[in-house]
């Protein structure tokens, strides 16, 4: 049985520095998969390979049974991949409404329309407002994005990934840099927004991981140390050793 996302023997290095080696990764439809691992383990690099930011040194990537090893990000997005970023990636100089509207335009495959005023496209603007409601930014919809709190900006980043209605969501540390309260409400938001959706989430906070994921992959120095249910991972000796080893240093 092949998953919605598969990697075969995926390897990558930066000018000889091996960052990922022989990654065999698989996500089944409906799965909620967490990737954990210490800083520099290669989690973001893995996302960057899968989403087409880098072309892997070797190995293959399959998304929905299509070889996407060399596909560019925009292709993958059109195929149904959504991604949020560890470092917030939004349009700071525009309003949240304009941010989300761009995603909605893409979802509706409006890419070369030079003939209609975008503010008169009622269906587009309605869909935009729906997403803003969902990510709880309706009140701030028309303020400059740069004036929003960090937590709200992170929500907008999530919203942009969701707005294209992807079949697979990749979240790279969605709670990174948040205060405890912000982090708590972000997790609740993610839980609500991704209900029934297939998701891969990179996260450091174990409470978040255990509350959101039904499968966990542990990445360590560019290798997969273990994959399994949260319980299996908690009981895994290699994982325990690696994590204990880390904390001793």
């Amino acid at each position: 049985m092949t998953g919605i996302l598969e990697t075969r023997d995926l390897c990558h290095d930066f000018n000889g520095l091996k960052v990922l080696t022989h990654i065999q990764f698989s996500v089944q439809p409906g799965e909620r998969h967490a990737i954990i691992g210490p800083n520099g383990a290669g989690k973001t690099t893995f996302f960057n390979l899968v989403t087409g930011v880098y072309t892997p040194a070797s190995g293959r990537i399959l998304f929905k049974d299509v070889d996407v090893t060399k596909a560019k990000p925009y292709r993958l997005t059109r195929m149904g991949l959504g991604r949020s970023f560890q470092i917030t990636s939004i349009f700071q100089r525009q309003t949240p409404f304009q941010n989300i509207r761009l995603a909605i335009l893409s979802k509706n495959r409006i890419r070369f329309n030079l003939f209609v005023r975008v503010d008169r496209m009622n269906a587009i603007n309605e869909q935009t407002n729906e997403i803003l409601q969902e990510i709880q930014l309706a009140d701030e919809a028309h303020l400059p994005t740069s004036t929003l709190s960090y937590g709200k900006q992170r929500s907008l980043d999530l919203g942009m990934a969701l707005a294209t209605a992807p079949d697979l969501l990749l979240f790279d540390e969605p709670t990174a840099g948040m205060s405890r309260d912000e982090s708590h409400s972000a997790v609740e938001l993610i839980r609500k927004l991704t209900e029934g959706k297939t998701m891969v989430i990179v996260e450091h906070d174990m409470d978040v991981v255990f509350s959101l994921a039904d499968r966990i992959t542990v990445l360590h120095r560019g290798e997969i140390l273990a994959t399994g249910t949260p319980y299996e991972i908690q009981e895994n000796d290699a994982v325990k050793k690696a994590y204990l080893g880390e904390s001793e240093v």
């Binding site: 925009y74 995603a103 335009l105 070369f112 209609v116 975008v118």
Partner: protein, 330 residues
């Protein structure tokens, strides 16, 4: 929320109506010299606005926009020189198409670079066009340029035929063509495509991840920008009845619209239009009373870069805001 009183619909047409009346009456009131100055302003307003599509709306600084302006100017001049019976509008359209074609041809190259490299590449391409224009004597007549080509009448067969040689007649043609160009470019910024352009300016990575093909999108932006620059060049050719390498392909031809964008106000649509107006006025005054136009332009650019980063439009908005705030605090 404060309830706003919406003025009746007809009031929306008051300002455009006044503007149209001024534009219509202008050549009658001011005579040939000022009419020609206005045409010059309008040509460069369109040229600068076409550059502004890249600078303010896509975040790309081109140092070689003369390539498209000159391409359009030469295409129109050569078409009129070599094709007997070439009509007025086909000649102008040829200029626009030439600008667009040049842009389309170089866009695969331009797509490979960003930021400083983009600026340098456009500079190089502009210089290449300048040199090619001088060297390709057989076609372009080298440094002499193409001049004295026939200017077709504006004619609708069997209805009217108006000579475009008198400045007043040409004025009406020029402001209609150039006005339509400005309107189209302005409209473009309001369309979904305009939103994508602004997205590329602010965060290309995210635009890519939203599912937009950036190289293809930029390709179209370059082509459209080249088209409007080409139209401006074409009207320039008709206006002067002469195109030379130094007149349309020279590096100063690339710098002029950049200055207009900065002086008028980067990041706004009206900026380059205001910039063209201001610089045309300065040019007139400076060349009438002194021989130091370049010095005046230099000082102006220094002042803008050091003190008024937002340019003339920015200054205007600031003043408006100041006045408005005073009013509301009373």
């Amino acid at each position: 929320m404060i309830a706003r009183i919406t003025p009746p619909a007809w009031t929306r047409w008051v300002l455009p109506g006044i503007a149209a009346a001024i534009l219509l009456g202008y050549p009658l009131v001011f005579g040939t010299v000022y009419t020609n100055i206005f045409i010059h302003f309008a040509i460069f307003a369109v040229f600068a606005a076409s550059l502004n599509m890249l600078v303010s709306y896509t975040g790309l600084l081109s140092f070689g926009h003369a390539l498209f302006f000159g391409g359009g100017a030469y295409a129109t001049a050569l078409a009129l020189e070599n094709i007997p019976g070439m009509g007025l509008f086909p000649a102008i359209f040829t200029g626009g198409l030439a600008g667009a074609a040049f842009a389309l041809i170089v866009s695969p190259l331009l797509n490979r670079v960003r930021d400083t490299a983009f600026a340098l590449l456009t500079l190089a391409l502009g210089q290449l066009a300048y040199m090619a224009c001088i060297k390709l004597r057989d076609i372009t007549h080298g440094e002499d340029g193409v001049g004295g080509f026939p200017i077709p009448d504006l004619s609708i067969p069997g209805v009217v035929s108006v000579s475009m040689v008198p400045a007043q007649n040409f004025y009406y043609l020029a402001i209609v063509i150039l006005g339509i160009c400005l309107l189209l470019m302005w409209f473009l910024t309001k369309t979904p495509f305009g939103s994508i352009m602004i997205g590329i300016r602010d965060n290309p990575q995210r635009v890519d991840f939203l599912g937009f093909n950036i190289p293809l999108t930029k390709c179209l932006i370059f082509t459209l920008s080249g088209f409007f620059a080409g139209i401006a060049g074409s009207v320039y050719a008709l206006f002067n009845n002469l195109v030379t390498p130094d007149g349309v392909f020279h590096i100063m031809t690339s710098f002029t619209p950049i200055m207009m964008v900065y002086v008028g106000g980067i990041g706004t649509f009206a900026g380059p239009i205001a910039g063209s107006g201001l610089m045309t006025i300065i040019e007139e005054i400076a060349t009438r009373y002194t021989t130091q136009l370049v010095l005046f332009n230099g000082i102006l650019l220094v002042l803008v870069v050091m003190f008024f980063r937002t340019g003339f439009v920015g200054l205007y908005l600031l003043l408006k805001q100041k006045l408005f705030e005073k009013e509301s605090s009373r």
